[in-house]
Amino acid sequence: MTPMGGLWSDAGRALRRNRAATISAAILLSLILLVIFGPLFSPWSYDYTDWGEIASPPALSNGHVFGTDQLGRDLFVRTLYGGRISLMVGLAATAVSLLIGIAYGATAGYFGGRLDHVMMRIVDILYALPFMFLVILLMVLFGRNIFLIFVAIGAINWLDMARIVRGQAMSLREREFVVAARTSGTRAGGIIGRHVVPNLLGVVAVYATLTVPQVILVESFLSFLGLGVAEPMTSWGALVNEGAQNMESAPWMLLFPASFLAITLFCLNFLGDGLRDALDPRDRSGR
């Protein structure tokens, strides 16, 4: 067996000592629950337009507790639906980038030598490609489907992960349990899957927590360019962008979605830093 159990329980203890991270985790959990179940308690659907209540401020009397947007749609429901999209998009892109990054990095690091050299050279080339240019091209190509876009964003966002994982894998390669497996004749694929990858999960967890907020921000940038999720569906980025244009005349349109977005990003970042302190004493490359 690999020495995983110890790592995780140590980490758990370290994490609990970090109050900011603990509180962040709790807030995130309640946010996720709210986003999933909240819409059940609202009489409105996310695309119902109430022509009598255009851009009306928050009020308990008409049931629009967060107010309405400029098409008279309920902002409470839209904020929660927007949260679903933003979080799903963040998770999907992160998952894709982790999958590729781990597979790529672990392979390069484990085998080393010329293969490693070539693979890392490719990473270098991709690093020099401007990320924004690629994202815009992908938007243009997959304009129809926000999830495809984020799968694609994940597919170009794996470079950092690959580098980090490679470094870890190189050091694991020489560890006794890996050497033992190798001498007992296990195939390379099996060793990577069974021994190398599981021992990388600490680093991966840290990295993932810090990638999700980055992706959510990328989504909001796309919404600023008008290239985000298609109406009438929405995302926090799209809502915040609309709100920013109305910050004087209808501040509630900015305030609610922006608070949800900012709180989520704050919590994810604090949690990520906490996890890093707890799990990952060596890697400080940060990117």
Partner: protein, 306 residues
């Protein structure tokens, strides 16, 4: 040192070649062409245009032509801004971007390192949490919210600063864009500094220094700072390239004539030559900045010196 620099520059050439070919093909795969507009062109006029820009040739031939011209320093004419060459456009906007980017980076570096050190010295205590909370505002509020908010407060309501443009180039026009650009960087740098500083402060040589009775501040500045800044330094290269070319939001909202908008507009307008120009420029910038970072690294960390 000179040999190292030269070999790095030569080594970058194949990287750039692949980068150019890749981008060249990618932009041409995108649906829509440079001559599409609300008013559709009669087929004859469109054919004339395609021939004039050599778009009627096979893509490989176009790529060859592009590389040949590039080797002679010719980025070609812009499709969109028809009175200018791509070289002129980049030459006009790069100084603006560089100036903004460098000022923002300096600001971010000073505030970020300061915040990171304070947080590291007071790890998991109130000072840590409050400093990091403040720093993280920059990555929790999108800049397209921050920028108009700053304009509204400082330009429209208070009237202290200009709302946009470069005006006569005075510093007052730069304050708001620089702050907006620096905010997210402060957060990243603070986090990097904090993490690596915590690490360094735990290491044996710092304990030795403390044991000698030096004050924590002296230990920090004299012994811990240099090693703790290594990850920050390696972050600087890509970050500066990103800030120089990636400040679309800031440029659009403040009306600043920088490079970033050419990325977005070039791609959206299918201005093939302009897109290629900024991609090549960006790629070169990354190579140069990474080289500078490595040189700086060698200076900070003597162990890496050969």
């Amino acid at each position: 040192m000179l040999r190292f620099t030269l070999s790095r520059i030569l080594g970058a050439i194949p990287t750039l070649l692949i980068l150019i070919s890749l981008s060249f093909l990618l932009i041409r795969v995108a649906p829509g062409g440079p001559f599409d507009s609300e008013k559709q062109l009669p087929p004859e006029i469109e054919a004339n245009l395609r021939a004039a820009y050599n778009l009627d040739e096979p893509v490989v031939q176009q790529l060859g032509r592009y590389l040949w011209n590039l080797a002679q320093g010719d980025f070609g004419p812009s499709f969109q801004y028809r009175d200018f060459t791509v070289t002129e456009l980049i030459a006009g906007s790069f100084p603006v971007s560089l100036r903004l980017g460098a000022m923002a980076m300096l600001l971010a570096l000073s505030l970020g390192v300061l915040a990171g050190c304070v947080a590291a010295l007071r790890q998991n205590r109130l000072a840590d949490y409050s400093v990091m909370t403040a720093a993280m505002t920059g990555i929790s509020v999108p800049n397209f919210v921050m920028a108009p908010l700053l304009v509204l407060v400082f330009a429209v309501w208070l009237g202290w600063l200009p709302a946009g443009g470069l005006g006569d180039g005075s510093v007052s026009h730069l304050i708001l864009p620089v702050i907006t650009l620096a905010l997210p960087q402060i957060a990243y740098i603070a986090r990097l500094t904090r993490a690596s500083m915590i690490d360094v402060l735990r290491s044996p040589f710092i304990r030795t220094a403390r044991a000698q009775g030096l004050t924590p501040l002296t230990v920090l500045i004299r012994h811990a700072m240099k090693p703790a800044l290594l990850p920050v330094v390696s972050y600087l290269g890509p970050a500066l390239a990103g800030i120089i070319t990636g400040s679309v939001v800031v440029e659009q909202i403040f009306g600043v004539p920088g490079l970033g908008r050419f990325f977005v507009q070039g791609a959206l307008n299918r201005d093939y030559t302009l897109v290629m120009g900024v991609v090549v420029f960006y790629g070169t910038l990354i190579v140069v900045l990474n080289l500078m970072v490595d040189l700086l690294y060698g200076w900070l960390d003597p162990r890496l010196r050969r």
